[in-house]
């Protein structure tokens, strides 16, 4: 039998090759794909997050671990879909209209994906209409907004207003982030949550959908 602790370690250390090999062998031995995800891979990403918060890991480690996670998930995704396993939630993520900064948004995306969320990445310069369409057509349960300029922050508010006027605000959670953004601003514009880094964004998203 495969020692599945190896899968945990492969994700934690960001060893994509090992993550793939162990996953394939475990599946060949008949291990349930969902067990691999929930018992080994997500706990490994949680530990990555913990180390990040403790300043033992930095952004490069996050990205490298997320890639290992993604490599294994790509093998497992069709099997999980066939069994009707749903992701924790679907997150429509993007940088708001008028703003082309994508690094922070990509980091949050990678970490959420590693945390078991399905990601609908809308890219940068995303209009409120596009966020709305992702909620209506792709059944996003979380809308994650990024802004890196003080002048584009108001577009976060506009996006929330659009969700409201379309009558879908109650069915989604909105989380926001970006260098000039604060918890205070999130409260001001009626967002459900704010996170100042990619790791705590995962904790926040989980909290929001658990409510």
């Amino acid at each position: 039998m495969q020692d599945l602790k190896q899968l945990y370690n492969a994700v934690l250390e960001g060893n994509a090759k090992a993550a793939k090999t162990v996953t394939e062998q475990a599946l060949a031995e008949g291990t349930d794909p969902q067990t691999l995800v929930t018992k080994y891979m997500i706990p490994a990403m949680d530990e990555v997050g913990r180390r990040f918060e403790a300043n033992e890991y930095f952004v490069p480690e996050l990205l490298i671990a997320a890639r290992a996670m993604k490599t294994a998930l790509q093998i497992l995704a069709p099997l999980l879909a066939a069994k009707g396993v749903e992701p924790i939630a679907r997150v429509a993520i993007g940088t708001v209209k008028g703003d082309l900064h994508d690094i922070g948004k990509n980091l949050v995306s990678a970490m959420l994906e590693g945390g078991g969320f399905e990601i609908i990445d809308l890219g940068v310069d995303v209009t409120p209409e596009k966020f709305l369409a992702a909620v209506n057509e792709k059944k996003a349960n979380i809308v994650a907004l990024s802004a890196l300029l003080t002048t584009t922050m108001p577009m976060m508010k506009n996006t929330i207003e659009s969700l409201k006027s379309a009558g879908v605000r109650q069915q989604v959670k909105v989380m926001i982030g970006g260098a000039p953004v604060t918890q205070k601003y999130a409260d001001e514009i009626g967002a459900d949550g704010y996170s100042d880094n990619a790791s705590s964004a995962v904790t926040l998203a989980r909290k929001l959908v658990a409510k």
């Binding site: 300043n55 490069p60 990205l63 082309l100 990509n106 260098a179």
Partner: protein, 290 residues
């Protein structure tokens, strides 16, 4: 710390620096002015002033107060045209030995800020990291697109009713944190710089980056205790200065230097530039984990 051939805009007075934000939030103006004085003493050529989302009046007041304690010219740092206008109205070149301020920054997505020239002359930092194509805005993905964005900005400046020499313009190709650069942005920035520097139309323009952004997200020290950030930033300078970089927004206490060819940070950066995707990031990690 100053490096010959490199104009330093001192970065400390910025609302997105946590320790400075605390001073702003506590309305500790003396604390802010102390930052202006110490950066002046330690060799900053310009003092950056960024007040975040505070009011235009607050910005105007900060400009006056900072100018009262330093004779260095200021870099007015905001994407907001109203805050920028208030700062330009408050700025007195006479207090800075006649030197006009820098305006950080104008992007192809906010060209209306060029109208600010009617208030008083300044040196705009023009972003060449994004561009407009018709109604579409897009990030520059290649060195060629970076040059195109630079030329579009130059054209827009040339259409103004003022005569503005190339030497009054600063182009910023838009640096990206190396620890999160899985898309070859650092390569685009360095190659884009070289194209800008070599372009006949753009002769004499200054080229600047916000250098501290290059190493955010990285640990301060390597596993064996050597500095990470100063070394990688110096590696960037070592490659960028021959490509035309002559200005940075940076720290007065960081020891910037041109590195020897075999310095581990320079070896690392050269290899990173050859790698794609997460492999580039793994090479950065190898530098500080070793």
């Amino acid at each position: 710390m100053p490096l010959p051939g490199l104009t330093l805009i001192g970065e400390s007075i910025n609302d997105s620096v946590p320790s400075t934000k605390k001073l702003f939030d506590a309305n500790d103006i003396e604390g802010i002015l102390a930052l202006a004085r110490s950066q002046d003493e330690k060799g900053a050529d310009y003092i950056d002033v960024n007040v975040g989302r505070r009011s235009p009046d607050f910005m105007a007041d900060m400009v006056k107060r900072v100018q009262a304690v330093t004779a260095k010219p200021l870099s007015i740092d905001t994407p907001d045209p109203e805050i920028a206008a208030a700062a330009l109205k408050a700025y007195e070149a006479g207090r800075a030995g006649g030197k006009i301020p820098v305006l950080n920054s104008i992007s192809p997505l906010r060209m209306q800020m060029l109208d600010l020239f009617e208030i008083q002359p300044f040196m705009p930092i023009l972003m060449a990291s994004e561009r407009k194509e018709g109604a579409e805005s897009m990030p520059c993905r290649t060195a060629e697109e970076t040059l195109l964005a630079a030329k579009q900005m130059l054209q827009a400046v040339r259409q103004l009713d003022y005569s503005i020499a190339n030497s009054q313009l600063i182009l910023d190709p838009g640096i990206c944190p190396i620890g999160g650069d899985a898309e070859g942005i650092t390569r685009r920035v360095l190659d884009g710089m070289k194209l800008i520097h070599g372009d006949p139309e753009l002769q004499g323009v200054h080229i600047s980056v916000g250098l501290s952004n290059f190493t955010v997200m990285l640990p301060p020290k390597t596993a064996d205790g050597r500095p990470v950030k100063g070394a990688l930033e110096s590696a960037f300078l070592t490659l960028a200065m021959p490509r035309g970089l002559d200005m940075i927004i940076g720290s007065v206490v960081r020891k910037y230097e041109r590195l020897a060819d075999d310095h581990p940070a320079l070896v690392c950066l050269r290899e990173v530039l050859q790698l794609e995707g997460v492999d580039a990031i793994m090479r950065v990690r190898e530098f500080y984990s070793a």
